[in-house]
Symmetry: D2
Subunit: 322 residues, 4 copies
């Protein structure tokens, strides 16, 4: 393999730049020419492809977002789109791809390989941590710490006013950010899409808190929980009319920011690991870290298999809010 | 004056603890006995009043919120409520008050003085910076930096996806947080309640940005702007259907967090200044900093007079987003 | 087991409070009475032992340091000291201990068990991450992020002035903090006590950087590296007289600060795990996390066995600074 | 004036980029061509001068350091150096300069004007805040908050171990950073070069603390204090042999980091103010903010006049550490 390209695709996550850097520097180290594709598959089709040098990735390891920009591509889902993309790669002699993204990205790469034989090795870039085949995804640790920082701040004002806060954090299908930021933030309850939390449990938790003279409470609600924080909080407001209940949604702030040390190292390992996998003939697999070892998992598995949340963590929320 | 008390009231703001600490340590320095009243006027009525020592305020200067807790009191607005409050103070021999809060707090203190002759000196504790009689209020600098930190993070993801973000920041009647976090965050437009911003200006700003090849834009909307970020953003979505427009509301996170150096020093000066004013016979005035000098402004003025936003700052947003 | 006690000992680390909280709340959950011992073994001897309730550990999960305070005890190393300590525990009916600390702490606990049969389960509290029996120690992730934050800031000024910085980070016998903060900070070289780095390698790295037009460089030196940053930096100054070389030692700042999400969760798991181990009859073992599973390792092993640094990480520094 | 240039010179400070951005965007707004000179006067001599566009300063407002790089120039102090610099400017038709730096920078600009008639308006870029003609210098607020963040962290470990810390902060001739970070950090004593602090006062402060049962103490020492933290701390160690005394020097970390909101706004006002001053015929003056108003002060005054530290602040340290 003489020429490869790297790109980011789908929702951005902190650490993607560290991952790009590792892939680029790794390629240079191994004497391979490497290109950067801007705007994901869309840019591949439009030919937004430029050579990357060592200095192209200087001073980016600490930056949130992605210098290659990201997008969700409709065109690449069409046969015509992929044909043009293939042509663009062929024109430059690019033989393999490092794709940083999630399952949408990997699905595209799988189809692309089946049609044109261009191998892709993926790296898991998503704050949600819901990818099978890796213990942690790039950006997850940063997102949890960003959410936690907000929870700590809200705790200040909740305590000062004896308030109950329902805080919604990201995670459309997954409660990872919720459970971790909830435990770390000392939340009284965490509501995740993986398990059903009846309204009675919320009510019971608040009542028990008052019985133990807790004057403020924080309940973390994952985005994917039915109704979200707004609806759940509103129902509780009706029940406890005298309580001072507030609802807040942390929103897009969780996607940005300088990556934590953990995410920079994870991203560096996975960017390098993906590149090395590609060189060694891997294809249609995602580089991941399982039990602190680099492993490659077929896209077919990352796409179809689920990564469950540890019961231990769910149990811990209850014990620690005693 | 032998015995005084300090309390926080109204919405909490970062730096209130530094202000409490300064009042307490100042009293001890001058050989005066000082009490802390919990939960503002409500606690005054309920007798939640305890002696404060030097160690009572150890290790709190860096903490958000208020260790004395805060509340908005309905009861103190009644004659009966104030009568009980007065009795509680009399029982303990408390002759004067340091009140950390905003105009609601000061209005109560004014009435209380007129009825019972108990002098109060105020310190401006509110993140909104909308109090006449001081260049800065306690908590404002921290709130601006918290908002800015969020804007910086959102900029990362906005850039990566070529998105337009409408970000709502706090400020029900005042655009201070909006204008400062907007300038510091490099926003393309800032919408404040003090001046009317027609929808056409928003449209024009976005178009000009595209003409200059800006691919992402950030528009800061003060809470008090008619419609808020949600309504304004939704209207723009209808007009620019192809643009990727997102709306986010920073919410209560802006009220918490460790105070900045600026706020801790400001709070320390004003807490000490309020205490010293009280000792020196001041009453029904708020301690403030104007042109870096400590000044006392009658509650009557802080309540009725407006503090305008500098035109310079509004002009600067436009120039700097060229 | 009806009554247990928890204490912190040796150098403090961020997350110790989260660990104390988990042990206390866990004990309450299981209906066991729990005491807190202040100042480690010294306080055990002096009888600084008080009952802990649920509210005793409210609002401490986010705090650096240890509310129980820590110390290194000379007296506990004597037979007389331990005899008094045992008497103190007996007087209160305390049957088991949760000890948060490092190998010094565990050595004491082992001897204490052999003499008096009081079982201890340990939790690894040290920023150095050099304890066998756990992948991560409590405080390590926070210390790495604190060091990284400083490195990021120094990079700003290094770049602006085309300077070379030798930055010393903590780690007397271990290069963990150095290697992780070095990779995450994009350092050009990392010097750790586990491997010998000849001065020629430092010289070569700087020369290669200049050849590739790098104008600034950062070299991370672990505290335990012979000579430290000061001596090594000074030798390099003599060789490259024209280069602008600076030396800085990050110092004790690495021990403090609000723990990261990672450390709070780790500390919560280990505090609860140690308590549950104690209840279930474990003794003279340390609770740790290996491959994301809770495991108990005999003190004899944590004290005698070494935890090596991954060669992968050392290799990565070289590749990524290409 | 049709063509101007902007540069940074002397020690870098956070906010310089925001200042560059404001000068560049301001010039574009007024229809003036603007160039950036890299590496200060050295780059002027070597002709490192390039046109700046609006996008040249996109996404830099939040970055520490200076994208134009900085240097202290020996050559510009020679007549020959300045002659070449003048030639370089003449070749490009540059008629005026915006210089971001301190008194060294302004001294050079003054001489350059006297010799060649090229007008310069300065902006105060230094973390030390020791420039006459402005209440605040660019970078000062950020440096104070960085120092404060470190002090907060050290307080955690000082408290946990009942230790005394001597912390050295930047300020070769000025105690501004020391006094502000000391007050905000709740220090027991602050030692600044502006006033002589006898060793007896240090001893007395520590003794009084112990008498009031303070178990830990923090003493802030400005870099310019005779002996610095190392020497003073060592002397105290000899006197109080049993006390656990530590010394730490915060170092270059204080120069970097994302600027605070305050610094970004200050820098934006001063960058724009300097540019507008230049357009309006100002020369050999520094733009500053005094009592919240933009003012221009002759270099001759900024260079010769001193800005004293407020006695109020020094008095406050003593009262608040009661």
């Amino acid at each position: 393999m003489k020429k490869v390209a790297v790109f980011t695709s789908g929702g951005d996550s902190p650490g993607m730049n560290a991952c790009i850097r590792a892939a680029v520097r790794g390629a240079i180290y191994y004497g391979i020419e490497i290109f950067g594709i801007r705007h994901g598959y869309d840019g591949m089709i439009r030919g937004e492809i430029t050579p990357m040098k060592s200095y192209s990735v200087s001073n980016i390891i600490q930056k949130g977002g992605t210098i290659l920009k990201s997008a969700r591509s409709k065109e690449f889902r069409t046969k015509e789109g992929r044909a043009i993309a293939h042509e663009q790669l062929q024109n430059l002699g690019i033989e393999g791809l490092v794709a940083i993204g999630g399952n949408g990205t990997f699905t595209g790469a799988q189809v692309f390989y089946e049609e044109y034989g261009i191998p892709t090795v993926g790296a898991p870039g998503t704050i949600d941590n819901d990818l099978y085949g890796t213990d942690y995804t790039i950006g997850y640790d940063t997102a949890v710490n960003t959410a936690l920082d907000a929870i700590d701040k809200i705790r200040d004002t909740a305590d000062s006013h004896d308030r109950i806060f329902f805080i919604e954090v990201m995670g459309r299908d997954s409660g990872y950010i919720a459970i971790q930021s909830g435990i770390a933030g000392g939340a009284e309850l965490v509501m995740v899409p993986e398990t059903f939390t009846p309204l009675e449990e919320v009510i019971e938790t608040l009542k028990q808190g008052w019985n133990r003279s807790k004057t403020s409470s924080i309940i973390i609600v994952a985005e994917g929980e039915e109704g979200g924080a707004t609806e759940i909080g509103s129902k509780i407001k009706v029940i406890f009319e005298d309580a001072d209940i507030r609802i807040t949604n942390l929103g897009h702030v969780q996607r940005g920011g300088a990556p934590t040390a953990f995410d920079r190292i994870l991203a560096s390992r996975l960017g390098l690991g993906a590149l090395e996998g590609l060189i060694n003939g891997q294809k249609c697999v995602m580089a991941g870290i399982v039990n602190n070892q680099l492993v490659y998992t077929p896209f077919k598995d990352t796409i179809t298999k689920l990564k469950p949340i540890s019961d231990d963590l769910i149990r811990m929320v209850r014990i620690l809010s005693v």
